[in-house]
Amino acid sequence: MSLTLGTLTALIGWLVIRFSANYLHREAGFHRFFIALSFFLAGIQFVLLAGNGLLAFVGWEMCGVSSFLLIGYAWHRPVATGNALFAFVTNRGGDAGFLLALGLAATWLGGFEWTLLSKASQISVVNDRLLVIGFVIAALAKSAQLPFSAWITKSLEGPTPSSAIFYGAVMVHAGVYLMLRLEPLLLQVPDVMFGLVVAGVLTAIYAWLCGLVQTDVKSALIFATLFQVSLMFVAIGLGWTTLALVHLCLHAGWRVWQFLVAPSWLVITRERPPPPPAWLRHNQLLYTAALQRFWLDKLADALFVQPTASFSRDAHAFEAHFIDHAIGQPGQGKAVHADRPLVVADGLLGRLLASASDVLQRIEYRLLLRGKGGTAEKLMHRAGAYLRTLENLLEQPRYLMMAVMATFVVIL
């Protein structure tokens, strides 16, 4: 299975790169696009060819990072960066499931090898179920199944070739691959397999209804993709894994072509998109729900993105009010004293250094540099007076004799 999917992915990746060389000619982020796309190809091949869950997770994260970079390709547009954040944050929920499963595997099975995970019958049923649920959450998030479906429509903000390879052909199937890879483990927990069927059916209904009311080709294609991927999850849940694998390969090849020709679709068809069916238009509630994509975008935004954005704002405020004040910022220094504008400092450390420098300068000024009447001059005058008195005393004969005798006593 890994060889089949690895070869298919390598072929799709090469074709998309060849396509992109012309499609993105003279685009501002041309080099950035190819760097992110190659990074993604490396990541997805790690996922497909890894012999254990840990390396697969490394690839899984590489895919997530490159997806974020390509959704935010037009980073100067707030919509693009907002959508990139949305997709990134939602996918981290799935990554948490993957990490949980890897941690449980390390604790209960002592390793991450796929072969080891397939023989997880040695652990209890409850533990087995927890392990599988972690992987299932990861798979559902990566393949945009309910309740994680909202991010995939936002991910179309990136260039069309990246949409083709990420959300049409390859990355959206990573969750299906993970479930196929863990088939022996899944077979031990039939209730989780039933959960996969339920998630697949609900996603299929969601994608079908939303797809009926789309008016642009890329949105229609992404809901069609979601529908097909949900059918693969249903097939896996029913135990028809070979069917799911064949479906995956055919769908990936077909969908990448559809996405790549999407910009030319109007020229090819020369037709307006068909209107939604009459039965849907007459059912006002269902029609509104489909148009609003069942309010999943708003729900995911409130549950995942807004808390993350709030946390980011809090971290920024903490940095601005405390960290920046503590460590200072280059070029932002202020004069420590109004009468010495050249001595500037910022931050706690900078102000401490400026104060120490100020004290040293004051000592230097008072002791050495200040002219007539300074402390140093007074001290020197006083010492000179004492030495002069001593000299006068020594010049008297009796003190001179005493000094000579004292010298002899010391010598003898």
Partner: protein
């Protein structure tokens, strides 16, 4: 030639590493300022394309060998975590 073919499956790690090499070279070119403007576009695209094509050729070759019953290698990480002997 036969020895090379027999060891080919062990080179499967090159499939993900080749695009990474392209990433490193292209990123270095961007950081050094040599990949700017339209003139630098063909080299960037060619490097990425070559890496992807190299991976594809290697995968096809390994597929062909797998059909003749030569088991491909696996990418391994964290050998110490294996409870069973790692191949």
């Amino acid at each position: 030639m036969m020895v090379l073919l027999e060891t080919l499956p062990n080179w499967i790690w090159l499939v993900p590493v080749l695009p990474l090499v392209a990433v490193v070279i292209n990123a270095a070119r961007v950081l050094l300022g040599t990949a700017t403007g339209d003139a630098a576009e063909p080299l960037t695209a060619r490097l990425s394309s070559l890496a992807a094509f190299g991976g594809l050729v290697l995968m096809i070759a390994i597929d062909a060998l797998a059909l003749i019953d030569a088991p491909p290698g696996h990418l391994r990480l964290a050998h110490s975590s294996c409870s069973t002997p790692c191949r």
